[in-house]
């Protein structure tokens, strides 16, 4: 029965390798908590992991142990003929099985109490006073982010990026007007679905500054894989500066190349979908481009926001993100260059 020992060693090695691999890159990892919410969940996760892992090892040892015992039974002749346990064996075994079942029930009860306790702890983290309220709307394959002022009117509209001050609780009001999406930034909190005809809320808070990546987690169609959102946590004063900048409309361009770019933007189908505050482009179907230059990525962060990527995206959106709803407008190269410069200038 040497292969039993080998199999057990192999299983332990695999478990250790798994534990090491967890922490490798933690770009979007549920076990690398940044905020209090994901911290509570990570603690609960490690509690479940070690307790249930131990139970698994015990059950496996019990199962594999059955192979290594040649003769068994207490005072009974070989089973081939009687197929019947002696009452002595029967009584001992039923005591062991009953004990195992009771232990299972007790452990499950402990797990239920731990999980419901964490759940209540999470809900207490919400409902705090000086919180910032942001409306996040999932639209097929990008995120619309609207900052609400105290009297719940919309002050700032941006897309695919949420800036939040470090250490301050933020309430996200999640809604959708087409299919079901799911807002999930693992480093900050679990996921909550965005369901048409319903408003769900989620509380997040970041304790360390940084850029935390999240993704839509409910299958929502062709480009579900490229519906990525960044939560940028920064110090309160940097956030204040960013917020004030976002309030400003786009400045009229002075440089002739920028003016030519703005003119190209106004003459084409861009105005039907996009809005740039400070110009007369006011389309509501696509993301708000007033401060496009300051964003990290294009097309729901499918590609980073560089002039090269922007050019590729405008010339042929279906190659960057096949199936998305941006129109393919045939621009000759003379118009493309100024348009890219103009858009990148909208910091």
């Amino acid at each position: 029965m040497n292969w039993v020992g080998r199999a057990a060693k192999l299983a332990l090695l695999a478990a250790l390798a798994a534990a090491v691999a967890f922490g490798a890159t933690d770009v979007q990892s549920a076990v690398n908590p940044i905020g209090p919410q994901s911290g509570k969940i990570a603690n609960l996760w490690w509690f479940f992991f070690w307790l249930l892992g131990a139970i698994y090892i015990v059950v496996m040892i019990a199962a594999l142990w059955t192979l290594t015992r040649p003769n068994r039974g207490f005072g009974q002749e070989p089973l081939e003929h009687t197929h019947q346990l002696s009452p002595e064996t029967d009584r001992r075994t039923s005591r062991v099985v009953a004990g195992a079942t009771i232990t299972t029930i007790v452990i499950l009860f402990v797990l239920i109490v731990a999980s419901v306790g964490t759940g209540k702890g999470l809900s207490e983290l919400g409902e705090q006073k000086n919180s910032l309220t942001i409306q996040v709307m999932g639209i097929q394959w990008w995120w619309q982010v609207m900052y609400q002022t105290s009297d719940s009117s919309i002050a700032v509209t941006t897309a695919n990026e949420i800036h939040i001050p470090v250490g301050r609780p933020v309430q996200l009001r999640l809604l959708s007007n087409d299919v079901i999406h799911s807002f999930w930034v693992p480093n900050l909190h679990g996921k909550t679905d965005l369901i048409p005809s319903r408003v769900n809320t989620q509380w997040i808070q970041a304790d360390k500054p940084g850029v935390y990546r999240g993704q839509c987690a409910e299958f929502c169609g062709l480009q579900h894989a490229h519906m990525i959102i960044y939560v940028v946590a920064e110090s309160p004063d940097k956030f204040k500066a960013w917020y004030d900048r976002q309030l400003q409309p786009a400045a009229a361009p002075s440089d002739p190349v920028m003016q030519r770019g703005q003119q190209v933007f106004m003459n084409n189908a861009c105005v039907y979908c996009h809005q740039i505050r400070g110009t007369d482009a006011a389309g509501q179907n696509g993301p708000d481009l007033t401060h496009f230059g300051s964003r990290l990525g294009i097309a729901a962060n499918t590609v980073p926001n560089t002039p090269g990527n922007l050019g590729g995206w405008i010339a042929d959106p279906q190659s960057t993100k096949p199936g998305n709803h941006m129109a393919t407008i045939a621009l000759n190269s003379a118009d493309m260059h100024p348009l890219i410069n103009y858009l990148e200038s909208l910091k």
Binding site: A14, A18, F22, A24, V27, Q28, S29, A30, I41, L44, W45, F48, L52, Y56, V59, M60, A62, A63, L64, W65, L67, N71, R72, L79, E80, H83, Q84, L85, T89, T93, V97, T101, T104, I105, L108, I112, A114, S115, V116, G119, L122, D178, V179, I180, W184, H189, G190, K191, T192, D193, I195, P196, S197, R198, Q215, A217, F219, L222, H224, A225
Partner: protein, 636 residues
């Protein structure tokens, strides 16, 4: 004609009886004969073979998905093609492989284990198979004409609604479900009535084999769970073909209502797949540990409890939809409670092996593989039951790892074990044990290589159903391991097929009871004749085959010139009256064709429901019309 049972000296004209039985239970010849067969071995075998073909097709789809996900930003499959393949993979594995193969094994084994000659409603059995075959053909007609479903195997609206999935893709999926749930309900009804009313005399409720108990519970779950998917798929179908507003969020319907109804069926569905596998494990363990399973009442009660609790925990699929906190806490408790019933059964099997003398056949290898994989799947299941953890790992690769552990570990491993265990009974030939062990280890290593890393992928934030991912998130290396593991599983599958086809011809001859097992199906020849037993055996104990030969009792006096079976009372199986089963009939096939025309037509034009129903009525008329020949004369 091989001698199926020992000669009964005190019964006159035994030779005459056997030749009569041969003639009355003979299957028709030619194509019409093949189409109108109603014996349970033939239909059971057809279910199993068709379901295994679906397993291979689903496996190929899985390989295509794994190749696409092997490296970041891969272009092997386009987004639309990938969505079609992952939906068809899920739908094929759940509806066209898992449930039908368990039903096929049930149809084949239950009449044998209950000591009777056929299932209760043989023609309904044939009709059920044709409807299942109709479902297979309709889905794969859709796949090859571009109308493969692409909205996920549980088709949440509004994505699966008329506006966001144009064309007929969701309709093909929803109507395929109508086909398969019809066949599942037919089989469930037969199995319940066969177990309750046609058991061998003396097989009272506490002497029913554990596999038959698991089938009884599974059939009742099918009867109470399938109507939910009837309602859910009809909601989608009528919203898409005649414009009703069942799930239209802006006109009063609610997408969450669809989720509630679907998962009210969805979770019992996975237990419908899993509970027969528990029956397989009980049968294999008792045969190979050479004693009946420890704690019979505990096993039966925990399976019944499993059947009831399974209906009370469907909301754990919807923890992330923002339902009220208290409701979710209740479903956390009920989801964790069901771990107790599975735990009790695992402990009883280990106790049986602990106190028995296990003989390492390939089937027992698969049982050990089942225990190793299923218990780990149970652990991750308990993790998923807790709301805060589920918010992090719901709809990620952690969930994919979990349900593959409990479905492949919990159902497919016992199924392979069952096939190694009952192959001698079904074909009369033994499968090669050496190739069997290789097959087990390749499948076991391949499985863990594929699905264990997916736990890590899930915790590293990889959501479900993404056709590709950027390089900077660090999922590339682990995905490559999983893809390699998937190919190892494929090799294991091929080894299994080689073992099957080689052993059918050149395997060692298996007698009536190669494993010296204890249930009644080992009392007759391998493969059993069309009528199973010359004289129906009576069950004198919980393990009838381990009773010494001279104490075995048989039933005599059934007429052999027509297909007669014995109907016994519910509790103690006292013989109550004889029941003449119908013979071969082409009408189930014709009614199935009429029903298929109705279903397929109503996807394109709702008026087909009316015209199709008239066709079905004609089919049923032919089916039930009382034949003069089969008139039962009232003799004394």
């Amino acid at each position: 004609m091989t001698q199926t049972q020992d000669v009964l000296p005190n019964v006159p004209n035994q030779e005459q009886n056997i030749s009569n039985l041969e003639r009355t239970w003979r299957r028709g010849r030619g194509l019409i004969g093949w189409l109108s067969v109603t014996t349970h071995q033939a239909i059971g075998m057809r279910y199993i073979v068709t379901a295994f073909i679906m397993l291979c097709v689903g496996g190929i789809e899985a390989l295509l998905m794994r190749i696409q996900l092997a490296k970041p930003n891969n272009t092997f499959l386009s987004a639309d093609l990938y969505n079609q393949i992952f939906t068809t993979h899920g739908t094929t594995m759940m509806f066209l492989f898992a449930v039908p193969v368990m039903e096929g094994m049930a149809i084949y084994l239950v009449p044998l284990m209950c000591g009777t000659r056929n299932v209760a409603f043989p023609r309904l059995n044939a009709f059920g198979y044709w409807m299942f075959l109709g479902g297979v053909l309709f889905l794969y007609w859709g796949v090859f004409t571009g109308a493969a479903p692409d909205m996920g195997w549980f088709a949440y609206p509004p994505l699966s609604g008329p506006q966001f999935t144009p064309g007929k893709r969701t309709d093909v999926w929803a109507q395929m479900i109508t086909f398969t749930e019809f066949s599942a309900l037919c089989v469930a009804t037969e199995i319940v009535v066969t177990i309750l009313k046609m058991r061998a005399p003396g097989m009272s409720l506490n002497r029913i084999p554990l596999y038959v108990w698991s089938l009884l519970i599974q059939s009742f779950m099918v009867i109470f769970a399938m109507p939910a998917i009837v309602v859910a798929s009809s909601f989608l179908l009528s919203d898409r073909t005649i414009g009703t507003h069942f799930v239209n969020p802006s006109e009063g319907g609610d997408p969450l209502l669809y989720q509630h109804i679907f998962w009210f069926f969805g979770h019992p569905e996975v237990y419908i797949i899993f509970i027969p596998a528990l029956g397989f494990v009980s049968a294999i363990v008792s045969a190979n540990a050479r004693q009946h399973v420890f704690g019979y009442p505990a096993m039966v009660l925990s399976q019944i409890a499993n059947g009831f609790i399974a209906f009370g925990l469907w909301v754990h699929h919807m923890f992330a939809t923002g339902l009220p906190q208290i409701g979710e806490a209740f479903f956390t408790a009920s989801s964790m409670m069901i771990a107790i019933t599975s735990g009790v059964q695992i402990f009883c099997w280990i106790a049986t092996l602990w106190t028995g003398r296990p003989r390492m056949t390939t089937a027992l290898y698969f049982v050990y593989g089942f225990i190793a994989i299923f218990v780990l799947g149970g652990m991750t299941g308990v993790m998923l039951a807790s709301v805060p953890l589920d918010l992090q790992v719901h709809d990620t690769y952690f969930v994919i790892a979990h349900f593959h552990y409990v479905l492949i570990g919990g159902a497919v491993f016992p199924l392979f074990g069952a096939f190694y265990h009952w192959f001698p009974k079904m074909t009369g030939r033994m499968m090669s044990e050496r190739l069997g062990r290789w097959n087990f280890w390749v499948l076991f290593v391949g499985f863990n290589l594929t699905f264990f890393p997916m736990h890590i992928l899930g915790l590293k934030g990889m959501p479900r159903r993404v056709y590709t991912y950027p390089p900077e998130v660090g999922w590339g290396f682990i995905s490559q391991i999983a893809t390699a593991g998937a190919f190892v599983i494929a090799i294991g599958g091929v080894m299994f097929l080689i073992n099957v086809f080689r052993s059918r011809k050149s395997g060692a001859i298996a007698g009536n009871n190669p494993w010296d097992a204890d249930s009644l199906e080992w009392a007759t020849s391998s493969p059993p004749a069309n009528y199973n037993f010359e004289y129906l055996p009576a069950a004198t104990s919980r393990s009838p085959m381990w009773v010494p030969r001279e104490e075995r009792t048989f039933v005599t006096g059934l007429r052999t010139d027509r297909r007669e079976v014995l109907v016994t009372t519910l509790m103690d199986a006292e013989p109550h009256h004889r029941y003449v089963l119908p013979g071969s009939s082409i009408w189930p096939f014709i009614t199935a064709i009429a029903a298929s025309i109705t279903f397929v037509g109503s996807v394109f034009n709702p008026w087909y429901i009316i015209s199709g129903s008239i066709l079905i009525f004609v089919g049923l008329l032919g089916w039930f019309w009382p034949r003069r020949a089969a008139e039962i004369r009232d003799e004394a």
